[in-house]
């Protein structure tokens, strides 16, 4: 009980701080606008603001009452968390409101708090009234959220639903056709094949802009999968990963563009060269940092990433890479009749599938196990006969090769590249998407790339707040789901070791092996 209370206070405080933060940057108003356009209730009126607060309150209450088995305690827990959060928010509203009423120009200090926004925050009423409304709504919504979460978890209807599901599954699996498919050894292949067909029809039906988003996300998926080997499996925190992306991109660019080298080679020749050069660069970076671990490695690789970018920009290489101007009219593959957007989507899909295959196979092999062992305890790994030097360099080389592939695709898709395309932020984005998705997990990397790269593109309305959302998302993720969106089994076990999944997994595997 005491733990529950503490937990609720903590949750309430976290939500309260986030809400205050969002209010200070005027996010409430944007959210209200979004809600308004969603429900067609018009712009930012009081109702939409209240709706936004109410929804957050519901979420808070539902989270707080996650483990309650009585509707009353669920309601109380939700209400407590809501009240704590609301209290903080109300305090801030009261403070800002009184300042505003006293005639202070708040927008001098916080650019977003212009008078119209302030009026919306205060619901067009007096400061103390608005504060009270905030507090009451949060407490009520929290209680309601608690009850809702309790109802949703009710044994009865869940059981009924799952029994329907089981019955349906049983009845379908008894049908001769389903059984025939199950017993047919290639049925898995066929299912995968169907998935592939969907993947290949999909881009034809999408607009060019949507396809562009898919390509962009896909490039980050490739980068994420590559860095996942270095960071997620081998445990080498590489913050200069963008360097290999740059090397791949510039190799492809310089070999296929008319300027500055008049080469104009075919893309299909340039692609493997880009991959090989990037992986050689991976080894070249790997050798000097072999003895480094953790933070030291991160700093050195970060420096390496910057060195490559600055070299590309420098006068030293201007005749070779055209310096800050970058390379233009980069050649791309000929898709024989397909529009280049769709063709590139296919190319990206193919690359991702190939890399997923390579990654899974490495992961489940002697090499992958050696990487994980190295990450766990390098000294012991050596005592077990693992050649740490070789395996570290291999991880760097393979990770860099994937980045090189991504770079070549990026260059030929974009048609022009410059040094600033390879800023530190790219490395950080890739690390972030791995963390958000779930370290060491392939589906996690894909989900992470969609969340961090795909969503902001779709949510253009939030453009100004992209970086902010990004940061807030990372913080929230680390608080509520530290193992990532779709964690690998190992990581889930690491973080939630005492949850029942463990025993279920054990029995399942034991049964399978017996």
């Amino acid at each position: 009980m005491k733990v529950g209370l503490q937990n609720n206070l903590r949750l309430g405080i976290v939500f309260g701080i986030v809400m205050i933060f969002l209010m200070l940057i005027g996010f409430n108003l944007i959210a209200a606008n979004l809600i308004g356009s969603f429900f067609n209730t018009g712009d930012a009126d009081v109702l939409n603001m209240l709706l936004f607060i109410g929804l957050v309150g519901l979420w808070l209450g539902a989270t707080a009452a996650k483990q309650d088995n009585l509707w009353l305690s669920a309601a109380i827990n939700g209400a407590i968390a809501g009240a704590v959060c609301g209290l903080g928010l109300a305090g801030m509203v009261l403070l800002l409101g009184s300042l505003f009423e006293a005639g202070v120009t708040l927008s001098t200090y916080l650019a977003q708090l212009v008078p119209s926004t302030m009026k919306a925050i205060l619901f067009g009423a007096a400061a103390w009234q608005a504060a009270l409304v905030n507090w009451v709504i949060f407490a009520l919504a929290g209680a309601l959220g608690g009850i809702l979460s309790y109802l949703l978890r009710l044994e009865g209807w869940r059981k009924r639903l799952s029994s329907i599901w089981v019955r349906q599954r049983a009845s379908t699996s008894q049908q001769p056709i389903i059984q025939a498919i199950r017993s047919y050894p290639r049925s898995r292949m066929i299912i995968y094949g169907l998935g592939l067909v969907v993947l290949f029809i999909l881009p034809l039906g999408l607009s060019q802009y949507r396809n562009y988003i898919i390509i962009l996300t896909g490039i980050y998926v490739l980068l994420g999968l590559g860095l996942n080997i270095v960071v997620g499996l081998a445990g080498l925190l590489d913050l200069g990963y963008v360097a290999f992306f740059a090397i791949g991109a510039y190799t492809a660019a310089l070999l296929t563009a008319p300027q500055p080298h008049h080469l104009q080679w075919s893309f299909w020749v340039a692609l493997p060269i880009a991959v090989v050069l990037a992986s050689l660069a991976g080894v070249a970076l790997g050798v000097p940092v072999l003895r480094m671990r953790g933070d030291y490695l991160a700093i050195v690789t970060l420096g390496f990433g910057e060195i490559i970018r600055i070299l590309l920009k420098s006068d030293l290489l201007t005749s070779f890479t055209r310096g800050p101007q970058g390379v233009n009219t980069i050649g791309g593959p000929d898709f024989h009749g397909l529009s280049s957007g769709v063709g590139f989507v296919y190319l990206i899909f193919l690359s991702i599938l190939l890399i997923i295959l390579v990654t899974t196979r490495l992961q489940n092999s002697r090499i992958g196990r050696a990487w994980v062992a190295m990450r766990e305890d390098e000294t012991v790994a050596r005592a077990m006969g693992i050649d740490v030097v070789k395996h570290k360099l291999l991880a760097f080389a393979i990770g860099a090769a994937f980045a090189g592939l991504a770079g070549a695709l990026f260059a030929s898709q974009n048609r022009s590249i410059g040094p600033e395309d390879f800023a530190l932020m790219v490395s950080i984005n890739v690390v972030a998407l791995i963390i958000v998705g779930g370290m060491g997990s392939i589906p996690g990397v894909i989900a992470g790339a969609f969340v961090l790269k795909g969503l902001p593109e779709i949510l253009r309305q939030l453009q100004d707040y992209r970086i902010l959302t990004f940061g807030a998302l990372l913080v929230v993720m680390m608080l509520i789901r530290p193992e990532g969106l779709i964690p690998s089994r190992r990581r889930r076990l690491e973080i939630h070791e005492d949850e029942p999944e463990l025993t279920e997994g054990t029995t399942a595997v034991e049964g399978g092996k017996a």
Partner: protein, 268 residues
């Protein structure tokens, strides 16, 4: 009997301190030998020299007619010497099964290209590796726990898993650093029986560091005593129990005269 490991005048300095001082040691093949000595006597340093984590400053180490001096730890492990640690060092976030599979690393041959191609040879190798790992799990009575994370296993099981991991590479010499540390009397006697089984059933030579005199005297055929890095005695357990210098090293100067307590406790 033919020696499996021989050190000659093995010496290791740490600054001004001579951690291991001109130690000569011969371990006969298929024996159980112990290195004992008070805390700080240089036992673990001696182990670290043999396994390649420290390079000795002087002397020679010969394992099966090949010198170990200058080799990396992984090369030495591949040659057939593996070890366990005083404070258990498992790959805690890997399952018991995976720990043993990692232990098999030097025996498996698949290159990264084969791993990516997943060719029949690699497939077969992986399958046999899993079968072997299951067999080892049963051998250390951890059958059925293969899917548990190593860190969730009870203490005694972790000790046994660490030994199983060391066995997975099919070593010919196994170094055990205080295998019964932190165990109660029953667990200790089980471990003693288990260590003897390793030698009898698998034909592995065993060199152990141990504090528990009952264990040392019970299973060793040869006991070597180190004190301040110097070998002060060597012989059968019976000889060591009567050695005055050993009693002095353990109980302090003068203790040997008249007091026979240490020998009695050791014999008990």
């Amino acid at each position: 009997m033919k020696p499996i490991l021989e050190t000659r005048r093995l010496t290791k300095f740490f600054g001004g301190l001579t951690a291991v001082n001109q130690v000569d040691l011969i371990i006969p093949e298929n024996s159980i030998a112990s290195v004992i000595g008070p805390n700080g006597a240089g036992k673990t340093t001696f182990f670290n020299c043999i396994t390649g984590f420290y390079q000795p400053d002087d002397g020679e180490m010969i394992f099966e007619d090949r010198s170990l001096v200058g080799l990396t730890p992984n090369a030495i492990a591949t040659m057939g010497i593996t070890r366990t640690y005083q404070n258990i060092r498992l790959f805690t976030n890997m399952t018991a099964m995976e720990n043993i599979l990692v232990g098999q690393h030097p025996r498996l041959k698949a290159s990264w290209i084969e791993a990516i191609l997943h060719n029949p040879r690699e497939k077969r190798e992986e399958e046999t590796a899993v079968v072997e790992a299951l067999r080892l799990l049963r051998f250390v009575s951890l059958g059925g726990l293969g899917d548990q994370l190593a860190r969730n296993l009870p203490y005694g099981a972790q000790r046994r898993l660490e030994i199983a991991r060391a066995l997975a590479s099919r070593p010919r010499l196994l170094l055990l650093d205080e295998p019964t540390a932190g165990m109660n009397a029953r667990e200790t006697s089980e471990m003693t029986i288990f260590i003897r089984r390793l030698r009898d059933e698998l034909g592995i030579t065993i060199l152990l560091i141990e504090h528990d005199m009952r264990v040392v005297m019970g299973i060793s055929e040869q006991v070597t005593v180190l004190d301040y890095g110097v070998k002060i005695a060597e012989g059968t357990p019976g000889q060591i129990q009567r050695d005055e210098r050993v009693i002095e090293a353990y109980l302090g100067h003068g203790a040997a005269s008249g007091l026979n307590i240490s020998a009695d406790t050791a014999a008990a």
